[in-house]
């Protein structure tokens, strides 16, 4: 699709030839993830996570469809039906633990995928559309994960539904009617559970659709690479298959080992014990926390403790609760504007010394936010999350444009091939951060 030297599909098998002439699906696959897609030859392991995210979605779809065969979306029996899956259904425990931990691993690989994109400037022209669609996928994932967590109808399910729909109640005037409308009642109940189940089943297929658009948009300019220098000629690329299918196969093995370790040996480590208590509308758990992958955003939500008032009048313009909700949504929505906020023409963080420092600071910041989001809402966590949230917004909205205008990037290599060849000659000269540089490959293979 993208480069003139891409290999063309020539079916060897007469059956495939027959199919291809009538429906060029084999050709489409060949050009999308086969030998027909030329990919920069210098991708490092951080480029594995796109494929792994696709695998994670597949795991969720397969286990989810199986679980839906046994689950009952009724507030009276939902909790017991999950226990029925765990105790009586053949391999039911495996399906449920794989689905629950699979969700976490989906978020892990997507977060790594996002931060890869942030470091290597994958959001910059001409790949803005890839990035925008990625943010859409991320939003859909969050919605899907939230609704999935409600389904077991345990204490955290119930109170999570209550708290998250309560966010909408912060909107002035129409907020509370919106919450009641979302829940189909005045508190989470059977109506909410059923609609969440319906949407939880639907949204993953929407995600799959947007992923197709995401990959389509990617194939127009082709994949980015660790140098951020565009592909100049055939010598810069290798066919996706077998080069990157082999590398992704290895990455997949590592991913599955880690997932298996969690599923089989610590299946509840990432969950909250309270969700093994059936939903009880009369008693709130001591600490309501969402799943770990929402913690950074939960910390931002809780960091706003002060109303916006007109000084000396006491007139409240925006109450703290609404500020928190606005900030939480803004923290994700700002990613949509990132391609136009960061104006540096250099893509890769490898050649942006100042940007790189702040990127590491952002990683640290998000980890701190995550920790604070999982901690109880008391000091010092609230104060730490206030500082960390302030940095989060400042990083994207204030610091990035400033860096772009004052930074003096390092000289870029003339081409991908030049960078690859230079690396062999001057081992370790490039100052890539540990684990981030393209030189994580064993050099013996070169």
């Amino acid at each position: 699709m993208s480069f003139p030297w891409a290999e063309h599909y020539t079916p060897k098998n007469p059956v495939m030839k027959w199919v291809d002439e009538r429906l060029p699906l084999p050709r489409l696959v060949y050009n999308a993830v086969g030998a027909g897609y030329p990919v920069p030859r210098n991708l490092n392991y951080f480029w594995n996570f796109g494929v792994l995210a696709g695998v994670a979605l597949t795991i969720q779809l397969v286990t989810g469809i199986v679980l839906a065969m046994h689950y009952a979306a009724n507030a009276g029996v939902a909790f017991d039906s999950v226990e029925h899956i765990m105790r009586d259904v053949n391999s039911g425990w495996l399906m449920r633990y794989a689905h629950a931990n699979g969700a976490s691993f989906f978020f892990i690989v997507v977060y790594l995928h996002i931060f890869r994109g942030l470091y290597y400037g994958s959001y910059k022209a001409p790949r803005e559309m890839v990035w925008l669609l990625g943010v859409v996928i991320f939003l859909l994932m969050m919605a899907t994960a939230f609704m999935g967590y409600v389904l077991p109808w345990g204490q955290m399910s119930f109170w999570g539904a209550q708290v998250i729909t309560g966010l909408f109640a912060a909107i002035p005037v129409v907020g509370e009617p919106i919450q009641v409308w979302l829940l189909g009642g005045f508190a989470p109940g059977n109506a909410a559970l059923n609609r969440f189940f319906s949407l939880h089943y639907l949204l993953p297929f929407v995600i799959a659709g947007v992923i197709i658009l995401h990959i389509w948009a990617l194939h127009i300019p082709g994949s980015s690479n660790p140098t951020g220098v565009e592909v100049k000629g055939p010598q810069d690329t290798v066919p996706f298959h077998p080069y990157y299918t082999a590398k992704d196969g290895f990455g997949l093995g590592v991913f599955l080992i880690l997932l298996a370790l969690m599923v089989f040996f610590a299946p509840n480590a990432l969950g909250h014990p309270d969700n093994y208590i059936p939903a009880n509308p009369l008693s709130t758990p001591a600490h309501i926390v969402p799943e770990w992958y929402f913690w950074p955003f939960y910390a931002i939500l809780r960091a706003f403790t002060m109303d916006l008032v007109i000084p000396f009048t006491g007139i409240v313009l925006i109450p703290a609760k609404l500020l928190g909700v606005m900030a939480m949504f803004a923290s994700i929505l700002l990613l949509f504007f990132l391609p136009w906020i960061d104006t540096s023409p250099v893509r890769s963080g490898n050649y942006r010394p100042l940007f790189k420092k702040f990127w590491w600071l952002l990683i640290l910041d998000v980890l701190v936010l995550g920790y604070c989001g999982g901690a109880p809402a008391e000091e010092p966590w609230v104060m730490i999350s206030q500082i960390a949230s302030a940095y989060y917004f400042a990083h994207f909205l204030i610091i990035l444009p400033i860096i772009a205008s004052i930074e003096r990037p390092l000289p870029l290599p003339g081409s991908i091939t030049e960078a690859v060849l230079a690396k062999g000659k001057f081992e370790g000269e490039q100052s890539a951060p540990p684990g981030m540089g393209s030189d994580t490959q064993p050099t013996g293979a070169a």
């Binding site: 105790r87 259904v89 053949n90």
Partner: protein, 188 residues
Amino acid sequence: MATEVQGTEAVMDEGEGVRRRDFINIAAVSFAGVGGLAVLYPLVTQMSPSADVLAQATTEVDLSAIQPGQAIKTVFRSQPLFVRQLTEKEIAEADAVDASSLRDPQTLEERTIEGKKQWLVTMGVCTHLGCVPLGAGEGENKGEYGGYFCPCHGSHYDTAARIRKGPAPKNLVVPEYQFTSDTAILVG
């Protein structure tokens, strides 16, 4: 490990190296295939009856209230089960038939437990397409042969619940059961 592999490859001649490489690639793909097949196992078995369904797979039936000529309809594995106490006349009618002339040749002896010939225990599921035949309830149509009659497509069963007329290919199924006492059976 990788460096070792490459080290040995370097001293090999070109042809050896190529073959060895192919072997490793084929092995890797085969492993992936085996893994994929292994994953199918839980995905397929999860649809089989779960432990709680299997645990319900036996049914006890109390026979004490069933008079000769009467039948009851109960449930075994979520399907209707007919338990009938035959009268002397019905037994005689069943025995009078030459079993070898039947579509599904079986004698009444073969369909009952030895010494308990009057107790006819069958599934209430027509062997044609799975409807519930009539004849177990008081006053229901017992068909032309005085046993059971399936209204869906007109299968007639005789007093030993053997198919005599109509589309059904087999006699009503006799499930496995045993007498736990003179007046009780355990089906399944």
